[in-house]
């Protein structure tokens, strides 16, 4: 499912009729079946960008192509619900959006609202819990009494239950401990590799993003200033600092070695690979 932005602008009017520009001239394409990361300073418009993908916001100028749907700033978009079957979003702090007394009811309600039959509902719930790695015994637990990591998994499950092709995650790792973060990383990889979903992640958790992202888009001052695969983007250590972003330490290290000692030890994901490189060059 291709997602393409063509010359997209977004602004909104504040109370005193002063227009506030948030995004200007965005021309990007998110890679299908891959993990796309959006980074940028706090408040620069990352959330606005993803809300344009599932039409919670409509662009003030330009066109957005999402699969077969075209969101045009000049026309009213008719197929909102169909779009959202294919593009599902998990918000920040999803634990604040649970409103049912049991995990089962929380997952059921969406399907019930779409008039799914009971046996289909049961099967879907079973499948989706398995997908996110939650045991079936969770069905009777109160969502608010789960741990933070479990709450996140439940929130993702409730977005996956309608089987979207694209999953958008807004700050998925915020407030999680190390183990929950690693679980989440595993889950996102499974969603991409086993279920071929396109993932879009907005985050400022650069270290986590470095472990899973394929492509990175950097937003600054209303525009996309850098994009490409993660190594291409992260090696611009100095430039990213101007945009308020610090690169993953593992990249920063290699970059420092290159700049100070003129030795190219390669940009890595895994610290063990980095150690091998250092061992090779440090003699």
């Amino acid at each position: 499912m291709e997602i393409k932005f063509n010359n997209v602008d977004y602004s909104y009017n504040k109370i005193n009729y002063l227009e506030k520009e948030v995004l200007k001239n965005i021309n990007i394409e998110f890679l299908e079946g891959k993990i796309n990361g959006i980074i940028g300073r706090s408040g620069c418009g990352k959330t606005t960008l993803i809300e344009l993908v599932n039409n919670l916001l409509t662009p003030t100028k330009g066109l957005i192509k999402v699969g077969e749907y075209i969101i045009d700033s000049k026309k009213k978009f008719e197929n909102i619900n169909e779009l959202r079957f294919d593009v599902s979003m998990v918000f920040q702090f999803p634990e604040e959006q649970f409103f049912n007394p049991t995990v089962k009811k929380e997952l059921e309600i969406i399907l019930k609202l779409f008039d799914y039959k009971l046996d289909q509902i049961e099967k879907r719930i079973f499948d989706v819990l398995k997908m996110v790695g939650l045991n079936q015994e969770y069905l009777n637990y109160n969502p608010l009494k789960l741990s933070n990591g479990e709450k996140r998994k439940l929130a993702i499950a409730s977005s996956l239950i309608i089987n979207p092709k694209v999953l958008i995650l807004d700050e998925p790792t915020i407030g999680l401990d190390s183990k929950s973060k690693n679980d989440l990383i595993k889950l996102i990889r499974i969603l991409k590799n086993r279920y071929n979903k396109t993932i879009i992640i907005v985050t400022h958790d650069i270290d986590t993003l470095h472990k899973i992202a394929d492509n990175i888009y950097v937003l600054n001052d209303k525009k996309i200033v850098l994009q490409g695969n993660k190594y291409e983007v992260f090696k611009n250590v100095k430039e990213l600092r101007k945009y308020g972003i610090t690169v993953p330490k593992i990249i920063e290290f290699s970059n420092k070695v290159l700049l100070k000692k003129n030795i190219k030890i390669g940009y890595r994901d895994d610290i063990n690979d980095l150690i091998k490189d250092i061992y090779r060059y440090a003699k």
């Binding site: 599932n54 599902s88 918000f91 604040e96 649970f98 969406i110």
Partner: protein
């Protein structure tokens, strides 16, 4: 960024009216309403309308905002007109009644558009202070009022978050069947109340840690001092009131 729901109509313009002392504004409102309701003298009402126009101009707020308030009571005006015609009242009586309602709405708008919520509560607190003689804890009343003002937007915001979350899963709230709307609202009410209570708790703790004490006298950093315009308005209104009573 969250939808910033406001229940206050305050528009910050730093006009002379904005800077007037809030207690004085509220007292002037009381005086104004008294004059307006007891008087059937066309000259006095002309004078009152004249004062309103000057204050509106001084407030630097667009006339459209004021007209919006009138729009809400258009039906009331029509209703009164019709009733008065049926009761065969004199035309001038009908006319003055309508003018009174318009004056009421305009002056109240003047106050609410130029005074922030917390200022209003503080001014109200000051006006109610004499009631302390009767052992009514006025500062607690003011506190409860300001908390309610603080909380209504939060509860609405919580509701909006849930609806937004549902819509991004394909459930467009406005377009769902009534049966389903009820299902959603029914399930939402208790969690929203729960979450709001939880937030209230955390808010109270934060205030406690920062040494908030309802019973103690606090500095009010932003409070407007008594200005020249305040004195003029008060004297003017008292003068008009006296004329009305004497004549």
């Amino acid at each position: 960024m969250l939808n910033n729901i406001k229940i206050s109509r305050y528009v910050k313009k730093n006009s002379i009216v904005d800077k007037m002392n809030t207690t004085s504004k509220l007292i002037s409102l009381l005086l104004f309403l008294t004059i307006s309701s007891i008087s059937y003298n066309i000259y006095i009402h002309t004078l009152l309308l004249f004062i309103i126009v000057i204050l509106i101009l001084l407030s630097k707020i667009s006339i459209i905002e004021y007209l919006k308030s009138i729009r809400y009571i258009v039906y009331l005006i029509i209703g009164i007109f019709v009733i008065n015609v049926i009761l065969k009242e004199e035309i001038i009586f009908i006319f003055l009644n309508i003018i009174k309602i318009i004056e009421l709405v305009l002056y109240t708008s003047l106050i609410t558009l130029t005074t922030s919520e917390s200022e209003l509560v503080y001014g109200l607190n000051n006006i109610l202070k004499p009631l302390n003689i009767f052992k009514i804890r006025t500062n607690k009343i003011a506190f409860i009022l300001s908390l309610s003002i603080r909380f209504i937007p939060l509860v609405i915001d919580q509701l909006n978050r849930i609806i937004k979350s549902l819509s991004s899963k394909g459930i467009e709230f406005k377009k769902t069947k009534l049966r389903n709307k009820i299902l959603i609202l029914k399930s939402i009410i208790i969690p929203i109340i729960n979450l709001s209570l939880k937030k209230a708790d955390e808010l109270a703790e934060s205030m406690e840690i920062r040494l908030y004490d309802v019973n103690k006298e606090r500095t009010n950093y932003k409070y407007n001092k008594w200005t020249f315009l305040d004195s003029i308005i008060q004297i003017l209104f008292i003068f008009i009131l006296l004329i009305e009573v004497i004549i």
